[in-house]
């Protein structure tokens, strides 16, 4: 059966069509859910795949959201997005319910030796140990971010996909529907612009230190 026909029959609440829809697109939803759970790192929910997947299909059924699909080409990506967003909301919902299980940093932890107690914040590794370096890194980060925000929107998007989302040039060309060479040029120019401004800042900083 054609995908659009299937969607049309699903919107008419045809049970057979829904069964086929679930059979055909279950793997897509499962992948979306699994990816999101792995990314969030919530091991607790890894056994809940089936529940979440079932809830997603129920959500699609009840709210009739599938009727918004006008072209079969975007169905899979839409399903992945919906399942990832749904998973995120599910995790947030369940996490809210179990919030009282979290331990505050001021909690006292027994060391086991003669009843000695330590604060949790003393045990956890802290970035405060390296404060000057941290401040400098943050300052450089701020300068880079400021310069990235000044870029032209296509350059900015390509740059952010490359640097923030760790996408290769080929992936970006696929997402933005641009030739790979164009993407490489956009990223190279963006990097050049950011680098230029960073070099100016670092030179100024070095001069100040020398003085």
């Amino acid at each position: 059966m054609d995908t659009l026909d299937l969607i049309k029959r699903c919107t008419q609440k045809n049970h057979e069509a829904w069964d086929e829809f679930i059979e055909r697109y279950r793997s897509v939803v499962v992948r979306g859910v699994r990816f999101k759970l792995n990314k969030i790192g919530k091991d607790v929910f890894k056994g809940d795949y089936d529940d979440i997947v079932q809830e997603i299909f129920m959500f699609l059924w009840e709210d009739d959201r599938i009727s918004s699909i006008k072209d079969a080409a975007c169905l899979e990506s839409w399903l992945v997005m919906v399942s990832m967003n749904f998973t995120q909301n599910y995790v947030r919902r369940v996490a809210n319910r179990t919030r009282e299980l979290s331990v505050p940093l001021s909690a006292e932890i027994s060391t086991g030796a003669k009843g000695d107690m330590l604060l949790l914040e003393d045990i956890l590794p802290c970035s405060r140990n390296n404060l000057p370096k941290n401040i400098e890194d943050r300052e450089i980060g701020r300068i880079i971010s400021d310069n990235v925000e000044k870029l032209e929107y296509k350059q900015k998007l390509a740059f952010k996909l490359n640097m923030y989302e760790r996408k290769t040039h080929e992936d970006i060309s696929d997402i933005m529907s641009l030739p790979r060479n164009t993407v490489s040029t956009l990223i190279r120019r963006a990097k050049g612009h950011v680098r230029e401004n960073l070099v100016i800042y670092l030179n100024e900083n070095n001069e100040k230190k020398c003085l």
Binding site: S27, V28, R31, G32, F35, K36, K39, S68, I69, D71, A73, C74, L75, E76, S77, W78, V80, M81, V82, M84, N85, D137, I140, G141, I144, S145, V148, E149, Y153, K154, K156, L157, K160, L161, N162, M163, Y164, E165, R166, K167, T168, H169, E170, D171, D174, I175, M176, S177, N181, S184, I187, R188, K191
Partner: protein, 139 residues
Amino acid sequence: MNRICPSELVLSEYMSGMLSHSERETVEKHLASCDACREIVADTHTVLMKMRPFGKKSHFFSVFTGNVWFMGACALLLLSFFVPQYFVQLLVASILAALKWMFDSRTARILIAVYESIKNPSSDRDTGKDNKNTAKFLR
């Protein structure tokens, strides 16, 4: 930052290349400034690529399909050694195929890039994977 995020449907249409030029521009402007939407698009792309049997285009085969004239020139050159009575003709054909390959716009760009990189060896090379050190400053 534009606080009104586009729906999942609009984002998936953007990814499928189904939006008009002006709509694409609007979505891209939003994606450039909205971390959440950009993350969704990037993650969706990752999941879809994993689902495809040949998710990423095979570089091995693209070398052959993208350089038909070069492959033809090599084949003709090889053939010229095996068919000595047509050696000159095959050699000329091989040279013509090689010239055609060289003047193909894509190859010409590559050759210019190679020439420039030889001329300026210090210039940076973007591989798309060299961002680990810089990325830590960006969050």
